[in-house]
C-alpha cells in the first residue's frame, strides 16, 4: 500500500499530458551507469499484518517494570487530554509555520509555550525548542562563545555526563577548551570553580538539580562568574522548577533543560525537546525559532516567526545555528501538560516526587550495607552506595521486575558501586517498600552467594 490515489487509467492520462509514453521517460536524467545495483526489499503488507509485526516487537520489550530510572528522563504521568489534543491532524500534519495566515494555531501555541517556559524558569524569553537537553547545552555554549568572544568553557561534573559527552563530540573540530570541575560530595565545588574561571572563560555550565539529584542555589557562583565576565548556563529539571529557585531569580544568563518530563513519553529516548530561555540582553543571540506577537494589516492580534535574520535559511553560513526542524510537537505537548496540570498541580507533582524520594531514602537507610548519600539535599533523585557493583545488583533487581536506577560506574570513574535512584509521583509507597525489600533480599543472597563462592575458591 503506497497511499497513491491515482488509478492506472489516471496515470496514463497524466503521462499523456506530460508528453511522455511511460513513467521511465521522466527518469531519463538518471544515467544508466548509476542504476541501482540492488533494491531487494521485502514486499509491502496490509495494515493488519504490519500492526501485528510491530505488536510482536513491542511485546519483546519489558515496558512493565517498576521504573526508578531517571538520569534526566523521568516516568511522569501524562494526562489523557495531552494525547487527545496533540493527535489532532491540524497540529501534527502541519509544518514549520512559514505562512502565518494558515498557522495561527501552531504560532500562538509556541508563543504560549515560550511564556510557560519563561514563567517556569524566571527568564525573559524562550525559543520554540531545541532537539533535546544535550543539544540545548551545546547551542547555549555556542551562544556564549559568540557573545563573549572567548574560547574556554568550564563544566561542572554535576552536569549530565551524557550531555557532556555530546558537547565534546560536537566541538571536536573547533578550537574550544573545556575544563571539567569535579564535584564535592556530589555538589558544586565552589572554590574549584572560582579558581578555574579566568578572563578567558566564555561560560560556566551548571545543573540544578545536578546529575546526582543534589539541589543547590548557585547565586554566589553566578555572581563570581559575572565578575570575571563569564556567562552562566544552567541546565534545570522543569518539574523541579515548580519548587526550586529558578535560574531567572539568581542571574543565570541562559537556562536550558530537557523538557521530556512535561507530557512526553519515555519512548526509548525520543523524541524529546530541549528548552532554552535567556534574558533580554541576549535574546537576539538565541538560536532556533522564536514566535512573536504583532498586529496584522487590519490591526488584529497575530503571531509570526520573528527575528528570522538569525536563522540558517536567511543567513546561511553566518546563522546562529543550523537548526531548522525542531521539536514543535513535543513543545506543544509540554505546553498542554503545563496548561492541564497548572500552577497548583505542578507544585503538587514536585512535592509528591520529593516526598516519595525522601521516603525511599528512609527505607534504604535501614538496609544493611546500603549507604544513602545525603550530605546535600536532593529533589527526587539520589545516589546510594551499594556493597558491590551496582550494575550487577541492578541486574538482579531487573529480574524481579524493578528497574532500580542507573549504575554510575559507566559515567563516573570510581563510582562502580553507586546507583542513581529516581522517584516520581507515579511510584506508590507499596512499590517503594517492595523495592527496598527486594534490594535487601538480593543483597542478602548476594552475600550468601559470594561467601559460598569465596569459600569454594579458598578450598
Amino acid at each position: 500500500m503506497s497511499f497513491v490515489a491515482n488509478t492506472p487509467a489516471q496515470r496514463e492520462e497524466m503521462l499523456r499530458a506530460c508528453g511522455v509514453s511511460s513513467v521511465d521517460e521522466l527518469f531519463a536524467d538518471i544515467p544508466a551507469s548509476v542504476a541501482p545495483k540492488s533494491f531487494r526489499l521485502p514486499p509491502g503488507a496490509s495494515e493488519h499484518e504490519v500492526l501485528t509485526y510491530f505488536q510482536q516487537l513491542a511485546e519483546r520489550n519489558y515496558a512493565q517494570l517498576t521504573v526508578f530510572l531517571g538520569g534526566g528522563v523521568y516516568d511522569h504521568f501524562i494526562p489523557s487530554a495531552v494525547d487527545a489534543l496533540a493527535s489532532r491532524g491540524e497540529f501534527f500534519t502541519a509544518y514549520t509555520p512559514y505562512q502565518p495566515e494558515l498557522s495561527q494555531g501552531t504560532l500562538q501555541a509556541i508563543y504560549e509555550y515560550q511564556t510557560h517556559i519563561c514563567r517556569l524558569t524566571g527568564m525573559d524569553a524562550a525559543n520554540a525548542s531545541m532537539y533535546d537537553g544535550g543539544t540545548a547545552i551545546y547551542e547555549a555554549c555556542q551562544m556564549a562563545l559568540h557573545t563573549t568572544r572567548r574560547s574556554r568553557i568550564v563544566v561542572d561534573e554535576g552536569v549530565n555526563p551524557v550531555y557532556r559527552k555530546m558537547l565534546y563530540s560536537y566541538t571536536a573540530n573547533l578550537d574550544i577548551d573545556f575544563t571539567e570541575v569535579p564535584t564535592s560530595h556530589g555538589a558544586c565545588h565552589r572554590e574549584l570553580i572560582e579558581q578555574t574561571v579566568g578572563d578567558d572563560v566564555a561560560a560556566v555550565i551548571l545543573q540544578n538539580p545536578n546529575f546526582f539529584g543534589v539541589v543547590d542555589n548557585h547565586e554566589d557562583v553566578v555572581a563570581r562568574c559575572h565578575e570575571r565576565g563569564s556567562l552562566v548556563i544552567q541546565s534545570v529539571y522543569p518539574v523541579a522548577m515548580a519548587l526550586l529557585k529558578p535560574p531567572g531569580e539568581i542571574g543565570v544568563d541562559i537556562a536550558v533543560g530537557e523538557g521530556q518530563s512535561l507530557g512526553n513519553p519515555l519512548a526509548f529516548g525520543g523524541p524529546y525537546l530541549g528548552f532554552m530561555a535567556t534574558n533580554r540582553k541576549l535574546v537576539r543571540k538565541m538560536p532556533g525559532r522564536i514566535v512573536g506577537r504583532t498586529l496584522d494589516r487590519e490591526g488584529r492580534e497575530a503571531f509570526v516567526l520573528t527575528l528570522q535574520a538569525r536563522e540558517q535559511h536567511i543567513r546561511r553560513e553566518k546563522a546562529t545555528s543550523n537548526i531548522c526542524t525542531n521539536e514543535a510537537l513535543c513543545a506543544l505537548r509540554a505546553h498542554m501538560y503545563l496548561s492541564l496540570v497548572g500552577k497548583e498541580g505542578m507544585r503538587e507533582v514536585a512535592q509528591l516526587c520529593h516526598a516519595k524520594a525522601e521516603y525511599a531514602k528512609s527505607r534504604f537507610k535501614t538496609i544493611p550495607g546500603v549507604r544513602v548519600m545525603e550530605t546535600n539535599p536532593t529533589f527526587n533523585e539520589f545516589t546510594v552506595r551499594l556493597p558491590a557493583d551496582a550494575g550487577v545488583i541492578a541486574g538482579r533487581l531487573v529480574e524481579r521486575g524493578i528497574a532500580p536506577g542507573l549504575p554510575l560506574g559507566r559515567y563516573y570513574q570510581g563510582m562502580e558501586n553507586y546507583l542513581l535512584v529516581a522517584v516520581t509521583e507515579k511510584r506508590t509507597k507499596a512499590e517503594i517498600g517492595n523495592f527496598a525489600e527486594v534490594l535487601e533480599e538480593v543483597l542478602a543472597h548476594y552475600w550468601d552467594f559470594e561467601e559460598e563462592h569465596s569459600e569454594r575458591i579458598e578450598v
Binding site: L26, V34, G71, Y111, N217, E249, D296, A328, L340
Partner: protein
C-alpha cells in the same frame, strides 16, 4: 483567540493527582526554594480542551488540504504509524534500560527494530551502514560533517573548506560552518540548472574537505554529472555529502551509494511519511560508505551470533555521542512501519507518482507562469512569478491568493537563485482531482494578476489574519506574554 493565560481563573484545577501516601518531606533548605509559585495556567480540563481545539482550527495541515510546500514532502501520514508508535512496549520504555546489566535483553524488540531499519535504509540508499541517532535533517548534516572532519583528522590533515552549490538547502552552509569549515559556494550553470562542473573543477583543491550535494537539487533537477562530481572530489581525497531531503524522487531509481557518495542523510519526516508536527520532531539517519563506518556515533547496534541484539560502545574512532540515546525512537518506529507497509514495490511507486504529479502540475502551469528551467523535473518543480511581478503581483501575493482558495502555498522565494520562485512539490499521495483543482486555482490567479493586480495586496481575506506585521514583531519583540 485569547491567549491561554487570559483564560486562567485563580484556584481552578485541571487534573487531580494521587494523594500523598508517604510522610510529607521538608528536606530542601529555604534558600533553594522559589519565593512564589510559577504563574502557570489555572484551568479546567474542558477549558484546556476547548483552547487547543480552537487553536487547531486556526491551523492547516496535510489532513486539512493540499500542501505543496516545496522541499518539505508534505505527504499523507498513515494513521497506523501513530497507533504503532503508541504501543506501550515502545512508548513506555525507559532509554537507560539497556544500560542495566542484562537490560539489553529487556529491549530486544526495540533494538531489533532499529537494527532492521538501519539495514533497510542501507538497501534503499546503497550505503554501507547507517546511524539512526541524528534528531532531524539538519542534525544529520551536522553529524555528516563531523564524520567528514573525523575522517580527515584521522588521516592527519585538517582541511579548511567545504564546497556548497548555491542551489543547496540553507542548512548545508550553516551545518558546515558550525563544524568549523569555511564554506565556498559553487555556482549553478544557468542553462542546465545543474552544478557548474567547470567552476567546481576550478574551486576544488587540497583544502577541500567535502562537497555537499543535493540531487535532485532544489530546482527539482537531477544532476546527470553526479559520477563526474564524485570523481573530481575523490581525486583530491575530498568526500561527497549527499543531502537526502529529496529522496522521495529517486526511490528504486537511484541509490547514492552506487554513485560513490560517502555520506548522506535521510529526512524520515519527508520520505518516510512521519508527521511534520508543526516543525518537528523529525529524524535524520545518516548513512556512510565503508571507510567512514569506524567513525559513526556510539552506540552502534550489533546482532550477536545467537540472533540477539546489543548496543556496542566500543568504537575507538567514533565521533562519540550526537544524541543522548538512540535517536528519535518513536519517529523511527513510524518510518519503519511505513517502509513495511509499502515494501520495495510500494517505494518505487512513491517516486514514480511523486515525479509524475510534479511534472503534470509543471506542464499545466508553464504556459501562464515562467519556468526558468524548462525540462523534465523530478519530485518538485520551480516556477517563477516574474511575469506577474511585472504587474506588481509577486510570489508572496500568489501565495496569499492560494490561501483564500483553500490551499497551502508552495515554498516561495526559494531557491534563492530563481527570482520570485514558487517551489511546488505535490507528493505522490495527491490525486489527479486535487491537482486539477489546484491547477485551475493557479490559472485563475494568473488571470486575476493580469486583470486586477491591485486586489492582491488585500489577500488573504478568508484567513483568521492577513499579513502580520513582521517588522513590528522584530522591533517590539513581544515573545513572552509578560513582557
Amino acid at each position: 483567540m485569547s491567549v491561554v493565560f487570559e483564560r486562567s481563573v485563580p484556584g481552578r484545577r485541571g487534573v487531580r493527582l494521587p494523594g500523598c501516601d508517604v510522610p510529607l518531606a521538608e528536606a530542601i533548605p529555604e534558600k533553594c526554594l522559589r519565593e512564589r509559585s510559577a504563574e502557570l495556567c489555572e484551568l479546567s480540563e474542558l477549558d484546556v480542551v476547548r483552547h487547543f481545539t480552537g487553536l487547531s482550527r486556526l491551523n492547516f495541515g496535510v489532513d486539512t488540504g493540499f500542501y505543496p510546500l516545496g522541499s518539505c514532502t508534505m505527504k499523507y501520514n498513515p494513521r497506523v504509524s501513530e497507533r504503532i508508535a503508541g504501543l506501550a512496549g515502545f512508548s513506555q520504555l525507559h532509554p537507560f534500560l539497556p544500560q542495566l546489566r542484562s537490560g539489553g535483553m529487556l529491549t530486544q524488540g526495540a533494538l531489533q527494530l532499529l537494527y532492521e531499519l538501519e539495514h533497510v535504509l542501507c538497501e534503499i540508499t546503497g550505503m554501507e551502514a547507517f546511524t539512526l541517532q541524528p534528531l532531524a535533517g539538519a542534525h544529520g548534516e551536522l553529524t555528516g560533517m563531523m564524520l567528514i572532519a573525523a575522517y580527515h583528522r584521522d588521516k592527519g590533515n585538517r582541511r579548511q573548506t567545504v564546497l556548497i552549490p548555491d542551489e543547496a538547502h540553507g542548512t548545508n552552509p550553516s551545518s558546515a560552518a558550525i563544524t568549523g569549515y569555511r564554506t565556498v559556494p559553487v555556482p549553478t550553470d544557468t542553462t542546465s540548472g545543474r552544478l557548474d562542473l567547470e567552476a567546481l573543477e576550478a574551486l576544488i583543491d587540497d583544502e577541500t574537505a567535502a562537497i555537499m550535494l543535493t540531487n535532485p537539487n532544489t530546482l527539482g533537477i537531477f544532476n546527470s554529472d553526479i559520477e563526474r562530481v564524485v570523481e573530481l572530489a575523490h581525486a583530491r581525497d575530498a568526500l561527497v555529502y549527499y543531502d537526502g531531503a529529496n529522496l522521495n524522487a529517486i526511490l528504486g531509481k537511484f541509490r547514492p551509494g552506487d554513485a560513490g557518495i560517502d555520506v548522506m542523510h535521510v529526512n524520515v519526516h519527508k520520505t518516510c511519511a512521519t508527521p511534520h508536527g508543526g516543525g518537528g520532531p523529525g529524524a535524520g539517519p545518516v548513512g556512510v560508505r565503508k571507510h567512514l563506518v569506524p567513525f559513526l556515533p556510539i552506540s552502534r547496534i550489533q546482532k550477536r551470533q545467537d540472533n540477539s541484539y546489543m548496543l556496542d560502545y566500543d568504537q575507538p574512532k567514533s565521533i562519540g555521542y550526537v544524541a543522548p540515546f538512540y535517536g528519535n525512537f518513536s519517529i523511527l518506529v513510524r518510518a519503519y512501519a511505513y517502509i513495511k507497509l509499502l515494501g520495495g514495490e510500494g517505494l518505487v511507486e512513491v517516486s514514480e507518482n511523486a515525479v509524475l504529479n510534479a511534472n503534470y502540475v509543471m506542464q499545466a502551469l508553464k504556459e501562464r507562469y515562467a519556468l526558468p528551467y524548462d525540462r523534465t523535473c523530478m519530485h518538485e518543480c520551480v516556477l517563477s512569478a516574474s511575469r506577474q511581478a511585472e504587474k506588481g503581483v509577486h510570489a508572496i501575493d500568489i501565495a496569499k491568493a492560494l490561501i483564500d482558495r483553500g490551499y497551502h502555498p508552495p515554498t516561495v522565494y526559494f531557491p534563492l537563485i530563481v527570482k520570485e520562485a514558487m517551489m511546488i512539490e505535490p507528493t505522490e499521495t495527491e490525486s489527479k482531482e486535487t491537482l486539477d483543482a489546484f491547477i485551475s486555482a493557479m490559472l485563475e490567479i494568473a488571470d486575476e494578476a493580469e486583470q486586477n493586480p491591485d486586489a492582491f495586496a488585500q489577500l488573504p481575506k478568508n484567513a483568521p489574519v492577513c499579513r502580520p506585521d513582521e517588522v513590528k514583531a522584530a522591533r517590539d519583540m513581544d515573545v513572552c506574554y509578560d513582557i
